[in-house]
Assembly symmetry: D2
Homo-oligomer: 374 residues x 4
């Protein structure tokens, strides 16, 4: 059985996420990167193709050129990964889907909620899949956490605390040459949300993915802590879920010293769970009698969802790249017709993320509680 062929838009020089997509997709030997439009600068795109060891003919100057050429080839790409700034997500995804090419897109879904609705309509109308890389849902113990909640291990969910703290934007590095920071601080490219759109949606998605509950109302406080920023670099939200559960979402990119501090706690009637991205192979369970318990990736106490995405024996840490690869493993199964990859987020999860951004921006502006517009 041949490898699935991957195209990539974005991921040129200076990109961190492009190489990650390549490694993640190829990790299990099921896919290979064969084509790309890596940069809006054709020379840089060509150079990236060389670095990726591609056939030079398949390093395209634009995503349009890529789609045109690849859909004509008998060995054309099986799917297209979109790793561009947010404002390009909609046009590229729409073009690909309408050309019959499956899409794996970075989050957030689009730059605005209106765009997301447009894209969701397109995705619903085509026969090829549209999926999003909410990376953290790929960790085995996140999937284990989801299973435990779904199976009632915690009892009814009462409180959810999710946090995503980073410190890399504590200084105005977007004015000091950081490409990564530049577009994320630019409303033209990032869309309506700064921190809320870049990492807040990850936290939000993680909370909904694990609990299986939907946030209904929020009260958001979005801040631009570093002077001169047009978008938020810090956000704190009160949450109310559809089952009456309460909670908070805390996210920031100005928490000096914080690295990639995503963490989730879910408190149920009977037990609680805790997971931290920086120690991703441990899931902590807390009980009413005061005991707490750690369960580790690779041990025999985990369910099939976690086992299915674990490669190594217990105690041999798997990390971010492997979590990312698990999303591509899901995609491979989906593309090969092996099930419908229920754990791989798609348009619905994408839309909810955009609804969160939209609601957070308006809640914060108007200083009031706001319902999610979905």
């Amino acid at each position: 059985m041949r490898k699935l062929r991957m195209g990539l838009v974005g991921g040129g020089p200076g990109s961190f996420i492009g190489a990650v997509h390549r490694i993640a997709a190829e990790l299990d030997g099921e896919m290979e990167l064969v084509a790309g439009a890596f940069s809006s600068d054709p020379d840089l795109s060509r150079q990236a193709g060389v670095n990726y060891r591609l056939d030079p003919a398949r390093a395209y100057p634009t995503f349009a050129a890529l789609l045109t050429a690849e859909t004509r080839r008998s060995d054309g790409i099986d799917f297209l990964t979109i790793a561009t700034p947010n404002h390009l997500h909609l046009p590229i995804a729409r073009a690909a889907l309408e050309a019959g090419v499956a899409v794996m897109s970075d989050k957030p879904m689009t730059a605005t909620l209106a765009e997301a609705r447009e894209l969701a309509a397109v995705a619903a109308a085509v026969s090829v899949p549209y999926r999003l890389t909410y990376t953290y849902t790929g960790y085995p113990l996140v999937r284990e956490a989801r299973r435990l909640v779904a199976e009632g291990f915690l009892g009814a969910v009462r409180k959810v605390l999710v946090e995503y703290s980073q410190g890399w934007l504590a200084e105005p590095i977007e004015r000091r040459g950081s490409k990564q920071a530049e577009w994320r601080c630019d409303p033209q490219r990032a869309g309506d949300g700064g921190c809320i759109g870049d990492i807040g949606v990850h936290a939000f998605n993680l909370a909904e993915f694990v609990t299986g509950r939907h946030v209904e109302r929020i009260c958001a406080d979005l801040n631009s802590v570093v002077p001169g920023r047009a978008l938020d670099d810090d956000c704190n939200l009160l949450l109310r879920f559809d089952n009456g559960a309460v909670g908070a979402l805390i996210a920031s990119q100005i928490c000096v010293g914080a690295l990639n501090g995503l963490q989730l706690r879910v408190y149920g009637e009977k037990a609680a769970l805790e997971w931290r991205q920086e120690a991703p192979n441990t899931l902590t369970l807390c009980y009413a009698d005061g005991r707490s318990e750690n369960r580790y990736a690779g041990t025999g106490v985990l369910g099939t969802d976690a086992v299915a995405v674990t490669r190594l024996p217990a105690g041999h840490p798997e990390g971010y790249l492997e979590a990312f690869a698990n999303l591509y493993r899901d995609l491979a199964n989906l593309l090969r017709g092996k099930g419908d990859a229920p754990l791989l987020p798609g348009a619905t999860a994408g839309l909810r993320g955009m609804a969160l951004i939209d609601a957070a921006v308006s809640s914060s502006r108007e200083r009031r509680w706001t319902a999610l517009p979905v």
Copy 2:
């Protein structure tokens, strides 16, 4: 130099905090418990006096009797500790202060903000001190944290996250015979706040104590998670400080599995700090270059405020009782005329706590941002 003589109201059978006050006050050999009105039941009060090895004549049936008798004795008490449910704080403190007896009161200051204002006026009018046992301010590393912020080690404070999670009220134990739970869930005795008044004020005080900043506005979500409760057992607040800093206060008594999870993080322009009550002898500092650093009680890198309240060499854990004892050490110094104990909270901190409770209740009821009424 003789020991200072302590009277205690409350702390009878079934009380946890009474014995704590006794141990804490006596720990350094500077004070001794000599009198008490330990229970509203005279027999229980008498029995408690026996347990505390007091002169039977000094185990009084009421606090009024205690004040009357002790103020007449030549060896009468030097101060009165109030360890009762909240609704008694005002009458006892007022009576003591007006009788010229110094007061060390449990938090919150009173049952309502109006009462607190009344008591603050009394305290301002008398010459004897009124102080509150915001216990957690007694930990050496909390005082070290305060010093570091005050000296600019973090730069300007940008974000404050404070949390106090417990799980002991996850079940309706107030209806199953728990004395501790009963009065805390009863508005007649606890006052306006449930969780917010019992532990939320601790978290709030800790945040203000360490940062030296005042919370100006909040948006609160107070919840009664366990059905049938008249008061909140969970609260989540967005915070805005007087210097523009943002933050959140998360507190709960229904976080199953949580023990006494008070923790504080303060993010400044240059560095951040983190402290956790359950590992109180460590203070973590985080730097912009990604390093984090632990500083331990008893080591030579700490300032004088921390050193002054440390009894043991580094690595020999001091805990909650020692932190509590540090407040009494401050009080002893104050009563002996050795300085004004600037780190020992008094009426101002008490009032602020009551303002928080008041604002939180109204903010939550009205679903809106609210200014603190102070």
Copy 3:
């Protein structure tokens, strides 16, 4: 019921452990320090008496004077605590015991194994108790660990790793004015063991206390890492237990940066346990299926031995002083005729510690495996 009256030898100015004994003994309100011979310098002894707020007549110039006077008083001491350098343990303990005064002695039992045998004989011949402050056995979770092993929770013990790492002697501070370091580095006062005698015996005692097993043979490597030391400041031992279990004891006072790093791990057939003195309120259990579990002081899952020595609700840290106080609580019970305080170490445990020191010194000198001479 009156308080028990405590005498103290040692613990004068510059002593850390004297104040600890006083606080620990008095913590529960069952004992009070009333007399002492605090220093070999009569003036310093007198001054210490003032600091401790004693009757000046009971601050004696020598322990002999103390014993003579106190045994004549109707309100004389009920027991004598010995907190001197090791070489004085034998003469003081013998004199006290022979005078009919109960003894609570610092470890190690004496300066040499021969002395220990002599003292054990004395202790066996008198009717008053002789006990040792192996402090770490006072922690609730150490006692819980002991119970779990005794009840077979781990199955047969297979491997024991115990470590005690400190860093305070990484520099030759005994030549720079440190009183604490001076006598510990002086064979005339410390006896045969340096690190092995000062902290190695703590680790050894902890291992035997928790496992209920005896070390039979050792192979020791004792080192004087800092040049010029007459005694070891670092020691590493291979262990064989009486039931065939294996293990190691690692101790050092030159581990720069280490504070008071005592920790124990016990691996059984079915489960393992781990305890760390610097986080003393947690006991970790590890299971064959890969789960690990934390149990906390104050929670309802602990046995009666732990509950009996816990003062605070879960999550309110108790520390070193409280552990020390638990030994005095045992002693109080013993002196009041409430049981025989089986968890409070006495001459047998003292002798075993001295046998360890003796065997370690000879094993290291001769570079061979050695049986413990008991």
Copy 4:
């Protein structure tokens, strides 16, 4: 530039390490698996080739057939990875090296010290490289630790504690169908060492790699804790280094509940360091003033050796597969003539590991201190 072509001996069905080698080698897009002799059963080898998506002609029945065929192809393999039980390391490596094929071998080098000497002679005589996968040397923070020691950050090394605890052999699973356990417990295939050869050498290599010092003498206690085992499943060693430093090596496969607990501590005159494989992206430094400091992978405070093998921003965990891939990255550089990959272990490190096994077995048997025979 074309990808380097990899051949693999071993790694057939049931093997854990085969897939690891494939992923690790291919991770950076610089190498690809093209040929293999995956099993001693030709059918299984063929099937493995299908699973790896190889050209069926290049899934060989024996390593001899592989070498013969591949050395004749113009697109033959550039190097051969050996992932077999230990007794096959020598014949395969010798044949490959003598055929001019570079070798990447699993550790330990061979089954016996005599074999290792033979292989070292072969390796010294050929022009193609021979290297070993001491996997843990591939972690960025292990390389950072090595750099810090080499640059004198710790001062002279005084004490080294290295531990490798696992629990997977706590039961006699070699008699219950575990292929992984079977050969490791069989002296015919594993060689002289059980636990000492399987994981003890990893710990030993890690200690020497980081400190840059050589162990000179050991006193070993090798145990077969589970009854009926011909080889050790637990080992504890006292260590003496060439610079006078002391230490211990603790390894076990019967530590129930332990997963893959490799950890190293190095104490120097000025500072200490600590690293744990299960949290591999953190390096802890401890200072004489009592502060401890964490440094994280991906942050700007690390040296070039660590940076060179880091793929992700700080806080995005890299794990075991990435560490393994770093060894292949070194090998790729070596094979492409980009330097001599000084951090990639070769015959010298392999020989030292075999000397450790040999010395440990004889030291334990004779119950005496033994010099390493190198």
